[in-house]
């Protein structure tokens, strides 16, 4: 992408002002910091702990969090160390969250941009499909897809991604429609630029703003969906683990080892909060509404 064009289009002073507003929002920054720590934990957790995910330490089963033997989060009924497993779960959950969001965004942006730009009957038809799909309980569709095509981790990515792109498509289409009316697109067209080029170099950069905000809100949704799936046993399979499976295992052992539930749950909740704060902060930064 042409850097000059991007700059001109993004509006220097606007983004700088937005960033300052974001920085001033304490909860948003707190969310960012929290997320940073969790990401760090995901990356470095397994590395700093002497244990690994699968080893069964039969002499130390179901011990609560302790400094002894570096079982900082305790162990489960099979003697597996929870710290390392939560860290691995973090990796999976965050990875799925971000990669799937990427897939959804890509599909949604392309779909929406084409629909909005071409307009007319094609646009109506494409959006009608979106309307129909939107009406369905998508979680069920995901389960169906996963049931039919198996519980391969990549399939989980794709299943979720294939379903969550709808809102992005709508947003992008709306933005495209309004950008289409703007003058510089008229100019490009009158200069003879082909449609595909106009879409790629003019429409898409302009549309990125709301898409970025929505993506920030989409990541936690995806993480949540994956957690639900794994919780039900339909998501990632052993030996891989995710927070959802850990919570499910913990829920089955609450009478004997409640930490197995509480710790992964706390991580998931913290991640959700963090993304919520960041999303709210981004929304306020890019579109401030002075309340009262």
């Amino acid at each position: 992408m042409n850097q000059q064009l991007l700059d001109a289009v993004a509006g220097d002073s606007l983004t700088r002002a937005a960033w300052q507003r974001f920085r001033a929002n304490r909860t948003a920054v707190a969310g960012l910091v929290m997320l940073g720590f969790i990401a760090l934990f995901a990356i470095a957790g397994s590395w700093i702990s002497p244990h690994d995910m699968e080893t069964n330490d039969w002499e130390r089963i179901q011990i609560p969090p302790t400094f002894e033997q570096s079982h900082w989060f305790g162990t489960d009924a099979n003697g597996r160390d929870l710290f390392v497993r939560v860290s691995a779960g973090a990796r999976i959950s965050l990875a799925i969250g971000m990669l799937t969001t990427l897939v959804s965004v890509l599909i949604g942006v392309l779909y929406g941009a084409v629909a909005g730009f071409v307009g007319g009957k094609l646009d109506q038809f494409m959006m009608r499909i979106v309307d129909v799909l939107y009406a369905l309980p998508l979680f069920f569709a995901i389960i169906v897809l996963v049931t039919i095509f198996g519980r391969n981790i990549f399939l989980v990515f794709i299943a979720i991604g294939a379903v969550e792109w709808l809102t992005i498509a709508r947003i992008v289409r709306g933005q495209t429609l309004s950008v289409k009316q703007m003058e510089f697109v008229e100019a490009a067209r009158s200069l003879g630029a082909p449609q595909s080029r106009i879409i790629a170099r003019h429409v898409i950069p302009n549309v990125l703003g709301p898409v970025i905000v929505f993506s920030t809100l989409l990541i936690p949704t995806v993480i949540l969906v994956e957690s639900f799936l794994s919780f039900l046993g339909l998501g990632v399979q052993e030996p891989q683990t995710s927070w959802g499976s850990l919570i499910s295992q913990g829920a089955g052992a609450i009478d004997t080892s409640p930490w197995l539930l509480v710790i992964p749950a706390a991580f998931l909740a913290a991640t959700m909060f963090a993304f919520n704060f960041i999303g709210d902060g981004l929304r306020d930064a890019l579109d401030p509404k002075d309340e009262g």
């Binding site: 069920f140 389960i143 949540l224 919780f231 039900l232 919570i247």
Partner: protein
């Protein structure tokens, strides 16, 4: 008004048709599924399947027969449960799920709307901050955390309520699942109402009502309330979808014999007819809710009620 309804129904039917057709073809494509030649199933079940799905007939005939059966309410045999058909299983689970789901929705609305308005009335003051924070927590923390946590606190630690099971409908067994199911929707509705109320309060006609000497309570009840609550109607269909999704996890955690539980079991055991059957039923329910919501919305809007006298302006 009739035209309004008609156009809504016209969208519903093709949508349902798409879902049904998709399910028809997906089932046949599923690797390792009942239609796979390599499937290792008991001869009894294979027999049932053969009969039920007319596998010897050309595919177009299969499709027509399939549609015909659907219209009669026959969703096919379940391959996980030899003795029951899918329709029968759903019929067993439906009362449980319905009772829980509808109660949750009712509670969420009856509590959420007033809470949202109270928060809006005290904007940015202590009461609002408390309510808004609690609402945000309810949205951010998913039911797969709250449900086990509630069980941990009230079932294991305090030993006040049963940990799991339907207990034949005893009220003690319903409390925790109900709370877990209601919380997310309650939070969303509270937030929605608060936002709607704040928007309405800024509108010109609210200020105009004040300028005529009406006390604040009258301004709120007679002028601000109706426009505040109408957006909630639009949320009805997504709310139902949300409760249905939530009930899957809730029924799993608490071991309740509802449709959601059968659904999950079906998914785990690759009981495609069961899974597809549930999806069709749920999708139909959501679409009907959408229609209902549109209907109610139309009734509430005085413009539609007056039948839009051809845009005649006085």
């Amino acid at each position: 008004m009739l035209r309004f309804l008609g156009s809504r129904i016209a969208i519903l039917i093709p949508t349902l048709l798409v879902i049904v057709t998709l399910s028809f073809f997906l089932m046949r494509l599923a690797p390792g599924g009942p239609f796979d030649a390599d499937a290792q199933l008991e001869p009894e079940i294979l027999d049932n399947l053969r009969r039920a799905y007319d596998l010897d007939l050309p595919i177009t005939e299969q499709y027509t027969l399939y549609l015909g059966r659907l219209l009669q309410g026959d969703l096919g045999p379940s391959i996980g449960n030899k003795d029951y058909s899918v329709s029968e299983l759903i019929a067993i689970g439906l009362p449980v799920s319905l009772e829980l789901g509808l109660t949750a929705l009712l509670l969420a609305t009856l509590l959420g709307a007033p809470l949202g308005i109270i928060a809006g009335l005290n904007q940015n003051r202590a009461l609002d901050t408390t309510i808004s924070t609690l609402a945000m927590t309810g949205i951010a923390v998913p039911s797969l955390i709250t449900a086990p946590l509630l069980t941990l606190i009230f079932g294991v630690m305090l030993k006040m309520l049963p940990v799991a099971g339907w207990g034949d409908g005893a009220w003690e067994n319903k409390i925790l699942p109900l709370i877990a199911l209601t919380l997310p929707q309650l939070s969303i509705i509270t937030r929605l109402t608060r936002g709607s109320f704040l928007d309405v309060r800024r509108l010109n006609f609210v200020r105009a009502a004040r300028s005529r000497g009406l006390p604040e309570w009258r301004v709120i009840v007679f002028h601000a309330l109706s426009p505040t609550l109408t957006p909630l109607v639009s949320y009805l269909a997504p709310a139902v979808a949300g409760v249905m999704t939530g009930s899957i996890v809730i029924e799993q955690v608490f071991g309740l014999p509802g449709v959601g539980r059968y659904f999950v079991q079906g998914a785990l055991s690759r009981d495609y007819p069961l899974v597809m059957g549930v999806v069709i039923v749920y999708a139909a329910a959501v679409l009907v809710m959408n229609l209902l919501a549109d209907l109610i919305y139309g009734l509430l809007d005085p413009r539609v009620r007056r039948g839009m006298r051809g845009g005649a302006r006085a």
